[in-house]
Symmetry: C2
Subunit: 218 residues, 2 copies
Amino acid sequence: MSKAQDTRAHVMATAERLFARHGLSNVSVRQITAEARVNLAAINYHFGSRDGLAMAIFRRRASELARDRLDRLRKLEADGGADLRAILGALLGPPLEWCCGGEESRDAVRFLIHARGERHPEIRRLINTHLDVLLRFAASIARVRPDLPEDEIYWRLFFTLALEHDLCSESERLVNLSGGACRRDDLEAVLDRVRDFAVAGVDSPARAQRDAQPRAAQ
Amino acid sequence: MSKAQDTRAHVMATAERLFARHGLSNVSVRQITAEARVNLAAINYHFGSRDGLAMAIFRRRASELARDRLDRLRKLEADGGADLRAILGALLGPPLEWCCGGEESRDAVRFLIHARGERHPEIRRLINTHLDVLLRFAASIARVRPDLPEDEIYWRLFFTLALEHDLCSESERLVNLSGGACRRDDLEAVLDRVRDFAVAGVDSPARAQRDAQPRAAQ
DNA sequence: GTCTATATGTTGATAGAC
DNA sequence: GTCTATCAACATATAGAC
């Protein structure tokens, strides 16, 4: 690997860590180059601009996440038995495993989530490029629950992703709220909990069915 | 109302709108004062600093939201019949009604959510001040579901708040994902959907109960 | 209280030596 | 490819006239 490739990768890793921890808008070119111990001009040389660097990181990580999710979903469907719990496991597993894994992969997820929240138009455009994976999951859910209307599936998929977002980026609040009673270090336990919640929500009866069986107390 | 109070309030309203739409870190003192058509020094005079202004807005809105939620919960409990759906309605109703209400209240919610995501230590300290309201809700849920362990309740409360966060700040993604099939302009419909999902997750059986009745296919 | 003028620092990006 | 030096634009905050 050439020296250039070397510093390029090193700058990306350092920037990702800083972006993930302090937010995209709160990290300057100077902070990154100082932390990475490379020259101030390196970012502009290798990535054109600070935003170019952020986009390069986003492109790479978003692709990795999409591929990881898709691989699991394909394997599931190839094996034939894709029940809802397994499908949602393929969706939620990758980011949560990254999040509970080493420092680097945790920062990768947090970077992605930060980036998704950015108003920056270029990034928002890029996000819509990766929608197809989520549509695959929607189709997979529709196969298990053919009674659900299309828009209902999208709502429930959206809610499921919301669980993942907050869990990866705001879990500190859960620790504060629970006074330490909730631990987030046991991946299996965390994954089970969020999957329980998501399955319950996604697999609940369709509104039409529920309206047909109104409760007496209502 | 004095002239000073007048510009003070006007600056807060303008700043809240800009903060909500572009993010806390992406709005400068100059943008705010220009948009509000007040003097550049006004912010430092009335609030000490740009961060002081942000904190003043946060304090006000966080208190309003907390009071709104608490009032509903108290009324519910006073009437005796606080079922889970009603409790979660008291939790989710205020932010969603704000979000679907006028421009100003929508910006108020989005400001709060943006602020919650900030790494700024002063704001994070302030957030923990408002935890007591959430603990009230946790206690209320515990009364309906005394079989749930304490930490399980916090997990589910945390997940419920995650739904609200993404719904108020990232609902644009839902529209993109669904190709326009999901509409977010009908407050009652949105509130019903998120409440359905939340109730299903929060009211699902405790893990211990589920383990005692393992499914055959597992 | 409101304003102008300004002090002081930081930002992203680049030109040109090596 | 890497570095130093520097630019122009932006930031926050304040001192002092009115």
